[in-house]
Symmetry: C2
Subunit: 394 residues, 2 copies
């Protein structure tokens, strides 16, 4: 017998970082269902059902709604490469890592990219968007709904009107928001949106739900050049996701799609409104606890994400030491800061299955211990007490 | 409770098509292990071990060996977009669907593509490759080792020498060959190769193992333009797969990587030589059975793939009716022809876990029944008898 590594036996984690989030046992069980062929009538039924459920979760009637066979960033690239041809003017609003990524992706497929920027943790005003639309007259304006890198929520309704008045298409990153707070594709007239499975949908990473409006589909149909990526070319992929054609494009990740199917069933069983309320309730309890412990948010109150709490690391506290202790002593994963926020913030996720009172209380109790280990002044138990009190109020 | 589809409960299939192939229960169980974070020390260990095992399966020392977060076609695109800059001369050898796809991918990232062609089911001679290398002097020559669309195996050793003598890089598609027949990355001096998980590795689709030689890495390092795809940009992805950096790029498909880890353990437990011999033994038994039934191969004997048997559909037999009956009455999936072979050939896979005497005998017995239902003259039991006899001989 050759010298082989041991079988996979992951440690028991509570995933309270920026994603992946905790996965429901039902979803993990679905991932392990026997693989069938990618053209098997049964798998085509799974695809149809998944499309229907994705439409409900995106709150859209868009025909072109499906999962891209890659993680959230592949969803971003799929939206950009399909909407953009070389020389097209694209505006990207950057207030975090993922806006910056979108600008990079757009430039790589030959767009003339104009960026507007806000400091990490802030959001854009409708006026700023109106200004750049007037100045650039873009084909597409891309913006991030929930910036996973900063914890800020971007209001979209006014911006959507402005973008459409300027004759542009609105592309929205809802990787972190979908399933955790309201995102209304049809009501807000979003033309293209992508998400990931591993945030508030609580499915393992590996697929990217996307949806395109009729306007977006028309823009794709009017292309005069081939889509820069073969793998992500929606003009071909959509034939596989279409009842009338089912033309082979690439072999779909069968078991990942099983997992997404079950994750969507769980989301819709709970109901979107109830799910959003749950995320908000646990966010408010966590906030009460953190504030009682003197830990401050890095984002203004009215723009905070309910599913991702970006807080300032208290003065004198070692970022990595605390995250290591949370992981080793309590099996709790939280995220560090990204970009200019590295070493300055923690990102505490309460996403999907992980958004529970149990996790809120445990995290606050564990943070107490970790801050104490750092010699940081706390009033022991104050966080837990405040969170518990907050649950009583609401 | 909203009106939801039923949970995923796939039918019991035997996957004898062009992939996905049957998955070992151990691999399905690994897919359902609890998800951890993509920067969790445990997951980094899984990545390290996976890299080590991939090197053994590819038979290479290449440092840059990893899994791309997409299916086999994403692996193709990852190799092409990283090696090719706009204006680069690329030769693609087309003798099936996947060669054609590679040419399409190369053209989309701005290559000056020259193609040479052979009819579907045939392979290229060293002379043909020498001619085109002399004529074009390409930066990269791409060729398919095992054409899944036709069932033909391309010898590579002579071609490799010719390509290198011409100063070009050799890019090889080994999606279907890896784990099923010899593919020697280092010995044959292949510069870049990609595979898929769902063929002879018998892991569900969703990842693409890739490997790059030092020459290929040097070519990537000398690029003057950004890689056309952000998602597949190896210059960034490799920092995540590197012990010294682990820089976040995109969130890896954690559970898919668990599955690949276990699938590679199974491959190496069996041993590559033994695994190749098993594929060959079952191929020869199937061949004996098919020949006894008067079913002819579509590929010349010396070029047949052991893991994918492309045979001519007997005159007067309805392609789809037979494949439907195999699926509905026996739960057996086989593949139809692709491209010009659609309606003319069947593709019978004996890949990975599915390459067993049990499947060979069952398939021949079931085919007997399906051909009889088509009114096709057979001598009942002749196929099974010949296959059994063949197992006795070998």
């Amino acid at each position: 017998m050759p010298n082989l590594p041991a079988p996979v036996t992951p440690p028991d984690r509570i995933l309270m970082g920026p994603g992946p989030s905790d996965i429901a046992p039902r979803v993990l069980a679905a991932m392990a269902a026997p693989t069938v062929g990618h053209l098997d009538p049964y798998f085509l039924q799974v695809m149809n059902e998944t499309q229907q459920m994705l439409r409900q979760v995106f709150r859209t009637e868009n025909q072109l709604t499906m999962s891209v066979s890659g993680t959230g960033s592949a969803g971003m690239e799929a939206c950009v490469v399909n909407l953009v041809e070389p020389g097209d003017r694209v505006v990207v609003c950057i207030n975090g890592v993922f806006g910056g990524r979108m600008a990079d992706v757009a430039a790589r497929c030959g767009a003339e990219v104009t960026t507007i920027e806000r400091p990490f943790g802030e959001v854009f005003t409708p006026e700023e968007v109106a200004d750049v639309c007037k100045r650039v007259s873009p084909k597409v304006l891309g913006i991030v709904h929930a910036e996973t890198s900063t914890g800020a929520l971007q209001p979209l309704e006014d911006i959507s009107r402005i973008v459409h008045d300027a004759g542009a298409l609105l592309l929205v990153d809802c990787v972190t928001s979908l399933g955790g707070c309201p995102i209304e594709i049809d009501k807000w007239e979003i033309d293209a949106a992508y998400s990931g499975t591993q945030k508030c949908l609580s499915c393992p990473p590996g697929l990217a739900p996307v949806t395109f409006s009729e306007r977006a589909v028309a823009a794709i149909d009017e292309r005069t050049t081939k889509v820069a990526s073969w793998y992500l070319d929606i003009t071909m992929v959509r034939n596989y996701w279409s009842d009338s054609s089912r033309a082979y494009h690439h072999t779909a990740p069968i078991n990942m799609n099983y997992g997404l199917h079950e994750a969507l069933r769980i989301v819709l069983e709970e109901g979107l409104d109830a799910r959003h309320a749950r995320h908000r309730r646990n966010h408010l309890a966590l906030r009460a606890g953190l504030e009682a412990m003197g830990v401050e948010y890095a984002v203004a109150e009215e723009q905070r994400l309910p599913m991702l709490n970006a807080v300032r690391i208290p003065e004198g506290v070692d970022d990595k030491a605390v995250r290591s202790q949370l992981l080793s002593d309590y099996g709790i994963e939280i995220g560090g800061g990204l970009g200019p926020l590295a070493g300055k913030t923690w990102r505490i996720g309460l996403m999907g299955e992980a958004s529970t009172p149990r996790n809120v209380l445990l995290f606050l109790a564990a943070l107490d211990a970790c801050l104490k280990a750092q010699g940081h002044e706390t009033s022991p138990g104050a966080g837990v007490a405040a969170a518990n009190a907050n649950y009583q109020i609401v």
